[in-house]
């Protein structure tokens, strides 16, 4: 393949390393050091996209992050598809596969032209606004068409094979941008001993110096860059991050930096390497040296491929050795625009003319152009270009002194490239992220970073300084200022000698007039990516959208993935003119993170797949897995749900597990319950204040059940607390509530009752708990201990310190099943040993492991609540029928006392927890079902309550349910109905929630 626009020398590319890539299925060649954009231009590719709304052919405009058109889809395989890649920022690698996204079926055919024109007419400014507002239903119709026509890239349909991660960084000085200002600031800070991080979005440091033919100290500027980079890399206290975009600047000098580690190597990262890394930087000081983006001028048909910004033309020539055309016309409002013409001429190609909107340009660069014999047309503008897929000619005319009107006759010039410069826009995006409002500067003709509360300094182009000598000085000064603020002393830094330029002041001009009024002239684009024209902004203003934020939303200006980096200021200028205001009066929109689009993977990092969420395991987990348990997530814990045997349905397993507990003995891993060790002489008093029931007289060696309420009197947790010693208790909580209860205790102790002498410590993970329950549980325990565990010596609600299977244990004789039960607690390192001994010895007693589902059924048979299932933050202990668990005799109040005695909590007809027995014993009411009183009632039917727990009880041979019914405790024996989604009705009788062993004899044996 020929690279017809490639120069034989010049540039930072390696001509000995050719690389092959494809664009829209066709093979091309570029060189190591190219971007995809420079390689495309070298190959003479003009059209890279079709525009969003009008489907107009679009070419490459810029050379950096501000590129609005060359936004491509990358990826050789389905899984490695990446949308929204700016070709100007994508380094070329061998085998790169790219396709255009805007354009169907292809950017080169005009099939879309017709649809595009329809789309254009259908989508006047405010289209989105109007469509979203009215009529809503139309959006559905438009959406699919717009999406296909606009083609904003697509996400891969397969799982991304790459990994992404996150790295935390800290530094004294974070320098953003490694151009002349950033490098000088970093060098100054590093020599002064500061910890420095310097990040730049490009593959190599140097910023604007990489794109120019400038000299420093009489040598190519890149030599100076090389020496600074070499010195910086020799310091231990400097971290250099190339290919890293500082994408977000957040509060407290926290910055997110998106590093692309392997995107320049291949479609997929090498084995064991991450593709992209998000650095989370916490900096004491931040130096923003983000430079400036050149502004294009707005003129008729300014989107025809071949229309570029002039600095991009220089960058392609000087950095990549690519001249993106043959015959150049430059239009500029300032001296810097001349550079493109000078570079173009020096590359040996034809500069047709420089069109300067100013009357008397005289600066150094102007002279340099004259010396090259380039024709300069002053006081003029390119009012229109001709061409479709490439510029063919331009129309130049004299302008009035203020540039607002065409005053002379039109001269047509033949050209294929138009480079424009409307001056520079400081890249203030990051400063905006922190909430700083930009400030307009008439002398800079642009917005400067506004005052900030961050520890932030700015230097160089972003301050509106464009002369290299001034930029270097600002970098030095920022570095010194940072050092001073850190209490460090600056070492000597000598700035290189730079040629100073005479500069003629720029003209403040954004929108080049046409012979016709803007509304009738050919389209004059302001924002390429969202297809916003000057006429569109004028319409928005005419329709009454005067605030710039409204204009933005009405026209979609700046809404593209480029955030309007090129177009925003021009748009504001057009709006200002239409509103007859100044630009500062019109104001500016601001920017949000991210500066450039990033992959979702980089946001998520490693918190995906197996590492998405921690999984917490008990000491016996391996055993459960080996037994084929299915697991239930309870908080982050993996708890055995049930232990199916081969061929069993879930219900068959549950029936078997339940009967084993009722008739023999079952074993449950209860290690996940929250356990809090409480010590101190006021521990007892504290318990009395956080539980609703009484604790003053609980004896050492005894356990008691407690209910915990919020200030509102609503139950939020429950559990058994044991008195281990006069000043020592251990509290159990629900599995999911453990952390909250622990924080709750600390909160009340630290803020309300610091005078109470009590300490809390979490011991959840320290103890493993094996619960054996059922009539045979005592026989099993007897086998593994020398202790007398008879009913006389070890009473219900006692705890004993004994040895079980050779391991010291605290055994609690408490029961959540209603059966004789022992909860055996041992240090978790020995949990598995004791568990295995129990399993071994239990075989002859029919010991059956069971999981949380059977646990739920067994407790429901007994009417025991589960906090979080039978409570929902709206029920008091009285609503649960648990008034017995409230003591109003305590000398000090308890949390929730006042709340549960509010008038609404003591009124008649509150929803109360009851049992529900279905008329058809085989029917199990679905949990959550709503209760009604009259099965024949017409909608809307008053709802009397709902089902909170519902199961099949094999032990009882019928279904059981617990639920809430208004005034339910007074309605025993009455009938309620539960309408089902299929139109049927389940009839149930209100009863006591204690279905099994109502006298509670079995646990006391």
């Amino acid at each position: 393949m020929t690279q017809q626009n490639r120069l034989d020398s010049v540039g930072r590319i390696d001509r000995s390393k050719p690389l092959t890539f494809t664009y829209n299925g066709k093979k091309y060649t570029g060189y190591q050091g190219d971007t995809l954009a420079s390689a495309m231009l070298a190959n003479g590719i003009d059209v890279v996209a079709r525009s969003f709304k009008y489907s107009r052919p679009r070419g490459i405009v810029a050379a950096g992050a501000e590129e609005p058109n060359a936004v491509l889809q990358l990826g050789a395989t389905e899984a490695t598809q990446v949308p929204n890649v700016r070709a100007t920022q994508q380094e070329l690698f061998d085998g790169l596969v790219s396709t255009s996204t805007n354009g169907w079926p292809s950017v080169d055919t005009d099939v879309m032209g017709m649809i595009g024109k329809i789309g254009g007419n259908m989508m006047p400014p405010g289209f989105y606004y109007k469509t979203f507002m009215f009529p809503e239903s139309l959006w559905e119709t438009y959406e699919s068409m717009i999406r296909k026509a606009a083609g904003m890239g697509r996400a891969p349909k397969e799982i991304d094979p790459d990994t992404y991660d996150t790295m935390n960084q800290h530094c004294d000085v974070m320098v953003v941008g490694a151009g002349p200002a950033g490098l000088t600031a970093a060098l100054t800070a590093a020599r002064g001993g500061a910890r420095v991080i310097i990040a730049d979005e490009q593959n190599e440091f140097g910023g604007s110096l990489l794109n120019s033919a400038e000299t420093l100290d009489g040598k190519p500027a890149t030599e100076w860059v090389g020496s600074v980079v070499k010195e910086l890399s020799s310091y231990d206290n400097v971290t250099m991050l190339p290919r890293s975009t500082v994408n977000g600047y957040h509060d407290h000098n926290f910055l997110t930096v998106h590093e692309r580690r392997t995107d320049h190597l291949a479609d997929i990262a090498p084995v064991n390497h991450v593709r992209q890394r998000m650095h989370r930087v916490r900096a004491k000081w931040v130096v923003l040296a983000t430079g400036a983006h050149e502004r294009p001028l707005v003129y008729a048909n300014n989107d025809v491929p071949g229309c570029m910004i002039s600095s991009a033309v220089s960058a392609y020539i000087n950095r990549y050795g690519v001249v993106p055309g043959n015959d150049l016309v430059v239009m500029t409002t300032n001296d810097y625009g001349y550079q493109a013409a000078i570079d173009w001429a020096d590359a040996g190609r034809n500069v047709v003319a420089i069109v300067d909107t100013r009357k008397h340009p005289e600066g150094t660069l102007v002279q340099a152009a004259r010396e090259r014999g380039i024709s300069i047309m002053v006081g003029s503008g390119v009012i229109e270009v001709q061409g479709s897929k490439r510029v063919t000619s331009v129309s130049v005319a004299k302008l009035s002194d203020d540039g607002s009107q065409v005053v002379g006759s039109i001269v047509k010039l033949k050209a294929d490239t138009v480079a424009t410069s409307g001056g520079w826009s400081p890249v203030i995006h990051l400063s905006c992220h922190t909430g700083a409002r930009p400030v307009w500067s008439d002398s800079v003709v642009g917005f400067l970073p506004g005052p900030t509360i961050q520890k932030q300094l700015t230097a160089g182009g972003m301050n509106g300084q464009y002369e290299t000598s001034r930029v270097l000085e600002e970098g030095l000064s920022a570095g010194k200022q940072a050092l001073g603020s850190l209490g460090l002393v600056a070492a000597e830094v000598t700035l290189p000698e730079v040629e100073t330029l005479d500069i003629t002041p720029p003209m403040s001009l954004f929108h080049i007039p046409h012979l016709k009024p803007t509304s009738q002239a050919p389209k004059q684009f302001v924002d390429y990516q969202t297809d916003v024209t000057a006429a569109g902004i004028e319409i928005a203003c005419r329709e009454g959208f005067e605030a710039i934020e409204h204009v933005k939303r009405y026209t979609a200006m700046g809404f593209g993935t480029d955030q309007g980096k090129l177009g925003n200021i021009n748009g504001m200028a057009v709006a200002a003119k239409a509103l007859n205001k100044s630009i500062p009066e019109t104001g500016t929109t601001v920017f949000r993170p991210n500066y450039t689009p990033i992959a979702f993977g980089a946001v998520i990092g490693r918190h995906c797949g197996a590492l998405f969420e921690p999984k917490r395991y008990t000491a016996m987990h391996k055993w459960h897995v080996e037994q084929g348990a299915l697991f239930e997530d309870v908080g982050q814990w993996k708890r055995p749900w049930y232990f199916p045997k081969a061929g069993e349905t879930m219900q068959q397993t549950l029936n078997r597990e339940c009967l084993a507990v009722r008739n023999a003995v079952g074993i449950l891993d209860a290690s996940t319950l929250g356990k809090i060790d409480i010590q101190g002489k006021d521990a007892r008093e504290f318990l009395g204040r956080v539980y609703s029931n009484a604790w003053a007289k609980l004896a050492v060696g005894k356990c008691r059940y407690g209910l915990m309420c919020g200030e509102d009197g609503m139950v939020f947790d429950d559990g058994v607390t044991a008195c281990l010693g006069e000043n020592h208790f251990v509290m159990t909580t629900t599995t999911g509530g453990a952390a909250h209860v622990y924080e709750w205790l600390e909160l009340y102790h630290q803020t309300e009752w610091p005078e109470l002498e009590v300490y809390f410590n979490t011991v959840t993970d320290h103890w493993s708990t094996a619960t054996i329950t059922g009539p045979n549980s005592r026989k099993l325990l007897e086998e593994l201990t020398d202790f007398d565990v008879s009913n006389d010596n070890f009473r219900y609600m006692d705890w004993k310190q004994i040895t079980v299977a050779g391991v010291p244990a605290r055994v609690f004789r408490i029961s959540f099943t209603g059966e004789l039960s022992f909860e055996i607690n041992v240090q978790a390192n020995y949990g598995m040993a004791v568990w295995e001994k129990l399993i071994e010895a239990g075989e002859k007693y029919g010991l059956t492991p069971y999981g949380t589902e059977t646990m739920h059924i067994l407790r429901a048979e007994k009417g025991f609540i589960i906090a979080g299932q039978d409570t929902d933050g709206s029920v008091t202990p009285y609503d649960l029928g648990m008034g017995w668990c409230v003591s109003n005799q305590k000398p000090f109040s308890y949390i929730g006392k006042r709340g549960m005695n509010r008038s609404d909590c003591v009124r008649e007809n509150r929803k109360q927890l009851v049992g529900l027995k279905t008329k058809d014993p085989k029917q199990v009411i679905p949990e959550g079902s709503a209760a009604i009183l009259d099965p024949k009632a017409k909608m809307p039917i008053p709802i009397e309550g709902h089902i909170s727990s519902s199961y099949w009880s094999e032990a009882l041979g019928h279904s059981i349910a617990m639920g809430f019914i208004k005034g339910g405790l007074e309605k025993m024996g009455e009938t309620v109905y539960y309408p089902m989604a299929d139109g049927t009705m389940i009839e149930a009788e209100i009863c006591s929630p204690i279905f099994f062993d109502p006298k509670g004899e079995r646990q006391n044996v």
Binding site: R606, K615, G680, L724, Y759, N761, T764, Q827, N829
Partner: protein
């Protein structure tokens, strides 16, 4: 009620805190939270060269002490029991022989001792410590990982937001902080050597995380 306290004052005072020797005889093998990962085999059969080295210090005695740092009597008692004074400066640690103490919060310290000495030390505390304090054995609830190697700081940078630069995190410094989506108490033992106390139930998650985060450096598991 059957659970009402019937004890005399003297009986009650004698049971102020329940201390028990929780360690069985040597015939019962303890399983650390990472028992299932089988580090012994990995140490023999896994990679021998890598930027990150991992070793578990298992079955140590973990004691959490909470007391009043302005009580001279309590501080003296601690020194009598452990032979070393509590570190009172925030985020610091002290070490003497097999004992090490980490500052956890203004009234909280984590003491690591050899597993078999745990009960004796607890008992000694109960005998010596005056006033209001708590001492909790949490040995079963956590384990200790030692991470070292040329890339250990980078691995930790991926895992925790704390500044690990040597001047900001000198040898001996202790922090309790986030580790990925769990927590750890982390102490620097040497420039490239850190100790992480992690919770039992999260140990497998930490192990998975370390394996993943060390992929680009190589992980060497060492026998404990």
């Amino acid at each position: 009620m059957s659970d009402v306290n019937q004890m005399t004052a003297a009986e009650s005072a004698a049971t102020k805190a329940a201390v028990m020797n929780q360690i069985p005889g040597s015939e019962v093998e303890g399983q650390s939270p990472l028992h299932h990962a089988d580090f012994e085999t990995l140490a023999k059969q896994g990679a021998q060269i890598g930027g990150v080295h991992l070793r578990e210090h298992k079955l140590l005695g973990h004691l959490t002490l909470r007391c009043n740092p302005s009580s001279a009597d309590q501080l003296a008692a601690v020194e009598r029991v452990l032979g070393v004074a509590l570190p009172l400066a925030p985020l610091t640690s002290v070490e003497k022989g097999d004992y090490s103490i980490r500052w956890m919060s203004p009234d909280e310290w984590l003491i690591l001792v050899p597993g078999l000495e745990t009960f004796d030390i607890e008992t000694a505390f109960r005998d010596e410590m005056p006033g209001h304090y708590s001492l909790v054995n949490s040995s079963g609830g956590s384990t200790v990982l030692e991470l070292s190697g040329d890339n250990v700081v980078e691995l930790l940078q991926k895992s925790t937001p704390v500044d690990l630069y040597i001047t900001a995190f000198p040898i001996g410094k202790v922090v309790s902080t986030l580790f990925a989506k769990t927590t750890t108490t982390m102490r620097r033992l040497d420039e490239n050597r850190f100790e992480l106390v992690i919770r039992r139930s999260f140990a497998d998650y930490v192990w998975l995380w370390i394996q993943d985060a060390s992929l680009e450096y190589g992980l060497v598991v060492e026998a404990s």
